[in-house]
């Protein structure tokens, strides 16, 4: 065994067993020379290795100090996979993710799939080649079966913790998630409107988004549960691509709404645009038509008529999901969580 390794190991063991607590000075190089019976150069080599390992801090004229251990500084990187980075409500979630990760000494590697399965696959393959401490995924929005399940399973087998947020693939068993119950959300909004006396309720949902399907499903079951007939024409479907043109033809929208006295919207963005359209057509909100939606974002406040909206209250789904991931990485336990909806009643209903 090499002498400098002996010195290094000996010092390291003493530091780890508390002989030299963090913040204290080691013996001087001269003293170590005598203690170990080696030359000063050999002592210096050992100390230099400990310095490289971030265990001690040398300071000219002062001495070699044992560093105060920061277990969070293990430079763990977490892969955060989302569909769209600037998609309306996500930036706030991302802020929560980054805040919590950085508090836990982790950092976020960001990738966007743009709702493309092939992008998601490439990102997951990259992670397999260059592993990370954990993965936070926004379940891809497509309602189609996901062909990348195999990669998620391989990553899980490797022991890389994965936490889903916003939505989760049903095909994946025993996977941690933090989501809302979208089906229940749709149900709650309709129940609220029914309680207000509405009998004919139209809706606008997103078609290329499983959350849209779920919210629609809740809408339907609440209507049927109250014995109300729902015409297919009263539900307007849109996709990411058709969103911009959705309100270009007011007549189409108005004819779909027909005699309905209320509209359930997929989110505040849609509700906001709908309200502007209704006002420009001479309709009054909520007197003629009530509008409710999801997210209770800043848009619901900016709208000419403030929007009644479901949300997670003051909970940040990004913070919660990142917290669970940090727990697992840190060896603590965590479990899935369904965030309850909170209704904020405003002017639009």
């Amino acid at each position: 065994m090499k002498k400098y390794e002996l010195v290094e190991d000996s010092l390291l063991r003493q530091i780890n067993t508390g002989a030299y607590p963090g913040g204290t000075l080691l013996p001087t190089e001269e003293q170590l020379t005598e203690i170990f019976g080696v030359s000063r150069q050999t002592v210096r080599k050992a100390l230099s290795i400990l310095e490289d390992k971030d265990i001690i801090e040398k300071k000219q004229g002062s001495g070699s100090m044992v560093k105060i251990r920061n277990p969070a500084a293990d430079s763990g990187k977490v892969s955060v996979i989302v569909t769209y980075i600037d998609d309306y409500i996500f930036p706030g979630q991302l802020r929560g993710v980054e805040e919590v990760l950085s508090k836990n000494g982790l950092s976020a590697i960001l990738s966007a799939t743009k709702n493309r399965i092939c992008s998601e696959r490439k990102i997951l393959e990259d992670i397999l080649n260059d592993p990370v401490a954990g993965i936070l995924v926004e379940g891809t929005k497509t309602a189609l079966p996901n062909p990348n399940i195999d990669l998620y399973e391989r990553l899980a087998e490797r022991g890389i913790p994965i936490v889903f947020f916003n939505s989760v693939y049903p095909a994946l068993k025993d996977m941690l998630y933090v989501c809302a119950d979208n089906q229940r959300g749709g149900y709650e909004l309709v129940t609220y409107l029914l309680g207000k006396g509405h009998k004919s309720i139209a809706s606008i949902f997103k078609a290329d988004d499983i959350q849209g399907h779920e919210r629609y499903s809740g809408y339907i079951s609440a209507m049927f549960g109250s014995g109300l007939f729902v015409s297919d024409s009263k539900t307007i479907w849109y996709t990411t691509e058709t969103k911009e043109k959705l309100f270009d033809e007011p007549r189409n929208i108005l004819s779909s709404i027909g005699d309905a006295t209320a509209v359930v919207c997929y989110n505040d963005e849609i509700a906001f645009m709908l309200i502007k359209l209704l006002i420009s057509c001479g309709k009054k909100v909520p007197e003629d038509i009530a509008v409710v939606s999801f997210d209770n974002s800043s848009l619901s406040e900016m709208s000419p008529v403030k929007i009644t909206s479901l949300s997670y209250g003051d909970k940040n789904i990004g913070s919660i999901a990142a917290g669970k991931l940090a727990d697992i990485i840190g060896g603590r336990k965590a479990s899935s969580e369904i965030i309850p909806w909170k209704l904020t009643e405003k002017e639009s209903s």
Copy 2:
């Protein structure tokens, strides 16, 4: 300068300029001793540093080989440092960054400083410990001198390319940046209003943000340049912390505006809130008071009166900055860029 640093720098420069391509052997320690006229120990110290930096690979009995690729650049991770992740206009920039990086086989590690120097320092130190292929930085918004310049310089010395966007520290020389000319922007907006016949112009600017100072400076110089007197009371200053309460007292705002027939706002968010306040106070926009601002974001469309606003047109400053960084990482050349302002005239002026 220390001798081992001279040897190290000289070798590094020769490696970088192609004198020793990847895969070739450096001269032996003995030869280097003669070439540089220093002792073998000094040569060894220099080589040891290059080895730590992953630039060469020493092999007993064989020699010191120049590594074919820098593994830090190979891992393809870029550190993206911003102040606030969900700050109004940034998510769109971040989307551009992620798109361009991923097209170039790179990925973004995201960190937020929250405008705190100590956070920025910690992030930069982490990068020094665990190098990345490049750094994209949103210059910290404070108008104070930045104490972290030394770390930026050390990173640059290590050969890690750095590109600033939105703003840059004047103290850093030869640093790439992609910014707007904020001073000119303030000037252009005021010139536009003067052209419309306005003579008394109020303003609202952000105080804890160098861009706010620059835009204010442009506003002032345009007013003075036209021989118009500017009362200090006509400029309303706010900070990140006071933003929420800024419009709580309509009287304060109205008294500051006084007899002004136009207001230059720091950005669309402020202009939006101002317009809502003016309308609720019975003022007509633009008949009574014109409002102009910066960014031309989606908010300027959502406003009850669509807002005349300066912006980068269809250019995404995040994409541009990320493109330049990818160019440098890929061995191509890139230069700083000042994005010209583009005025979009709408209803509010």
